[in-house]
């Protein structure tokens, strides 16, 4: 078992972390103006586009975990880059193991920016849940800032130019969300594990958000004084943060394992993906709520940063099927697996 990050993965985390530092602050800027590309946006799209892309579709043997490590670092700093949305869209196209045509070069090198259109109004986004009609997708991030969308329908995945884009009001303005209307696909490819791969990109960003919220809360707990003591020395403050850190670690471990399971076509890949998405959403929302609490009165003001984590957590939890839906799916799959009629 070599269940440790590779040297390369550590370098990715570091490199993206540096880019993320420079792109920090874009989540706040979007509260008072239109979305603007953060400093690292172009570099991310250009230089990291091959992460997680299987060789069969034009990649260079990078594992899905490589990509998630990069996305997690972006989430931690709330970078409002199009890269995670683009990467999710690319992953959505990567799922068909039978596919042997490489993805377009301009997609892989980030000249053509994609976004994923998966969630249908009223239904969590998942192939077996998307209704045939109407061809409308919701919660599509950066739709007006992307060149095309990768859509998921019951019959498969296709690259599309939307026939209509309706900007919606996102609780996190740094992730502009739209409804997009699509024309019927002329040709689709099998989704295969694409939706699994893409959902894990969202889960990884949630894990980053959870991590960033825990770190910000811990920093506040280490410095803020009340009743003559640093508040982090009160177990009433410290223990809930320990719980948040535990939930975040659980979610990240589940996400990494699910990515490995999907990459290696393990039989438990499906339930692991649901578990990762469920756990990551819960961890991020819980950590952000605790982060607000630790900040006391300032935590409920726009001026402090905790609410930025909460906004991002809600948006990501809602995408690619809500966390609560994924959790129930985990339960249902586990129960089905234990039924006497099912093969164990």
């Amino acid at each position: 078992m070599r269940a440790t990050f590779t040297q390369e993965q550590q370098e990715i985390a570091e490199a993206v972390g540096s880019l993320a530092e420079s792109g920090k602050g874009t989540a706040r800027a979007a509260l008072s103006g239109p979305w603007q590309a953060p400093a690292g946006d172009a570099a991310l799209l250009r230089d990291f586009g091959l992460l997680g892309v299987p060789e069969a579709v034009g990649g260079i043997g990078s594992s899905l975990i490589d990509l998630l490590v990069a996305v997690e670092a972006l989430g931690e700093h709330l970078v409002a880059s199009r890269f995670p949305a683009h990467a999710a869209a690319v992953q959505l196209m990567c799922g068909d193991r039978a596919r042997s045509v490489p993805l377009p070069a301009d997609v892989l090198d980030g000249r053509r920016v994609l976004t994923a259109a998966v969630d249908a109004p009223g239904a969590a986004g998942w192939a077996d849940r998307v209704p045939v009609d109407p061809l409308v997708r919701t919660l599509v991030p950066y739709a007006t800032q992307a060149d095309a969308v990768v859509a998921l329908g019951p019959a498969g995945v296709w690259l599309a130019d939307p026939i209509g884009v309706t900007a919606r009001e996102s609780v996190d303005p740094s992730v502009p969300l739209s409804d997009v209307a699509l024309s019927a696909a002329e040709q689709v490819t099998q989704p295969g594990a694409g939706v699994h791969r893409a959902a894990l990109v969202v889960a990884a960003e949630l894990c980053g958000v959870a991590q960033g919220a825990v770190e910000l809360a811990a920093e506040q707990a280490r410095t803020r004084r009340q009743f003559g003591r640093v508040i982090g020395s009160f177990q009433g403050v410290a223990f809930p943060l320990a719980e948040a850190a535990t939930a975040r670690k659980a979610a990240w471990d589940l996400t990494l394992y699910a990515a490995w399971a999907v990459d290696n076509a393990r039989p438990d890949a499906e339930i692991q993906v649901h578990a990762a998405k469920a756990a990551a959403g819960r961890a991020a929302i819980f950590a952000a709520e605790r982060c607000i609490q630790v900040h006391g009165g300032m935590g409920i003001t726009m001026e402090a940063d905790p609410h930025l984590f909460l906004r991002r957590a809600f948006v990501l939890d809602a995408r690619f099927g809500r966390g609560s839906w994924h959790r129930r799916r985990v339960g249902a799959l586990r129960i089905a697996a234990r039924r006497p009629t099912a093969p164990r």
């Binding site: 609780v171 969300l177 009743f227 009160f234 607000i292 609490q293 409920i300 609410h307």
Partner: protein, 383 residues
């Protein structure tokens, strides 16, 4: 033990209810309004209260009040909350400043301020909290330095509702830096000329609170309330009036939060999901516990007792119900609650975000648990 209203109480409730129903006839549902609109209706509502003679409900008759007991104000507020009435724009004046001045003020101070409050001409705000003080209110650092005929005040205040509408402030400042922290505080009835006011935007976009900066603000000796160095004791009176007037509001807000999520689920057709039914069961139990606990608290107060540390349990239950119900409502939303232009979605998200403050304002959740641990369970101090 009897939870029924006495005949006298029932008659009072009927009078209040009748007036409210009439006075609220043209007032829209506040939950659906913008903050500006809500502030407009708060002002209208304040004027109607004054005109209707409800401003000094629990003030003695000799001060122009109705001479009812302290509970009457709580019942009035309860009946108003049940009907979704606006929050009166001079609540601080009617329910905090007036009673505190009656309790601790000189004849001259009473004559100077009470009529203005009764007639809706003098609006008040409360300057207790400071940016650094947090849960440890008595650690306040605003200073009042002796000058000729009064005091020069420097410092900053925060979480001030309605500062931009008020002309007077219930202000705590430290007049003796050497004294133990609860002893060196003085309570001022400060005119607000010279206060710099900055609205504080909350995470839900509302600006119900302000910051106030005081640079060499002069307050005259005539505006010291209850004596120099006696401010902490006077402040406790104000805080007790604050708790008392809201005593029967918490349960109303808890019930409304539960009802709203139930209504949404019914509308969405998801109310039969057993996990949802379980969640509603748990919320309903706690919401009712807040209502019943509040009735018992009021009963104790009427029987001559003082509200005990159990009120911390009610605060804690209430915050939990409202936070959990509002989170559940957001997550029932079609798009996970994140598309604010959806039908009612913005209001749900606004309420969810606003509720995060419930475990912070009015004594944090941690402070409530400390009070329960120390005063109900007799455990040693842990802070």
């Amino acid at each position: 033990m009897d939870f029924a209203d006495s005949d006298v109480d029932l008659a009072f409730r009927r009078t209040v209810g009748g007036w409210l129903d009439e006075a609220l006839r043209d007032v829209p549902d506040q939950e659906e309004l913008s903050q500006d609109e809500r502030e407009h209706w708060s002002r209208v509502w304040q004027d109607r209260l004054c005109a209707g003679g409800w401003a000094g409900l629990s003030w003695p008759v000799e001060h122009g009040g109705r001479g009812l007991d302290a509970l009457a104000q709580a019942v009035f507020n309860e009946e108003a909350a049940v009907r979704g009435a606006p929050y009166p724009l001079n609540g601080v004046g009617m329910m905090l400043a007036g009673p505190t001045i009656i309790a601790h003020g000189t004849d001259e101070q009473q004559a100077r301020h009470l009529p203005g409050i009764l007639h809706g001409e003098e609006y008040w705000c409360q300057g207790f909290s400071e940016p650094g003080s947090g849960s440890d209110l008595a650690s306040l650092r605003t200073t009042a330095t002796r000058v000729d005929g009064g005091w020069r005040i420097n410092g900053a205040k925060i979480w001030t509702s309605n500062a931009h509408n008020a002309s007077r402030c219930l202000l705590l400042a430290r007049t003796d830096a050497e004294a133990p922290k609860h002893r060196g505080i003085t309570y001022f009835l400060a005119p607000m000329d010279g206060f710099t006011i900055r609205p504080l935007e909350m995470i839900n976009g509302d600006t119900e609170f302000n910051e106030m900066f005081l640079d060499d603000v002069f307050v005259s000796d005539d505006d010291v309330l209850g004596g120099v160095g006696n401010g902490w004791r006077v402040a406790l009176t104000t805080l007790a009036f604050e708790r008392g007037s809201m005593a029967l509001n918490l349960w109303v807000w808890a019930r409304q939060a539960v009802d709203r999520v139930v209504d949404l689920a019914v509308e969405r057709g998801v109310a039969d999901d057993s996990a949802f039914v379980d969640a509603v069961g748990a919320l309903q139990c706690d919401a009712e516990a807040v209502r019943i606990g509040s009735m018992r608290m009021v009963g104790e107060t009427r029987a001559g007792g003082v509200p005990g540390p159990e009120t911390s349990a009610l605060k804690s239950l209430w915050a939990g119900v409202v936070q959990n119900a509002n989170r559940l409502a957001v997550q029932l939303d079609e798009a996970g609650g994140v598309l604010l232009d959806g039908d009612g979605a913005a209001a749900r998200m606004r309420r969810y975000l606003r509720a995060r403050a419930h475990t912070i304002e009015g004594g944090t959740e941690e402070v409530q648990k400390s009070i329960l641990a120390e005063r109900v369970l007799d455990l040693p101090r842990s802070r």
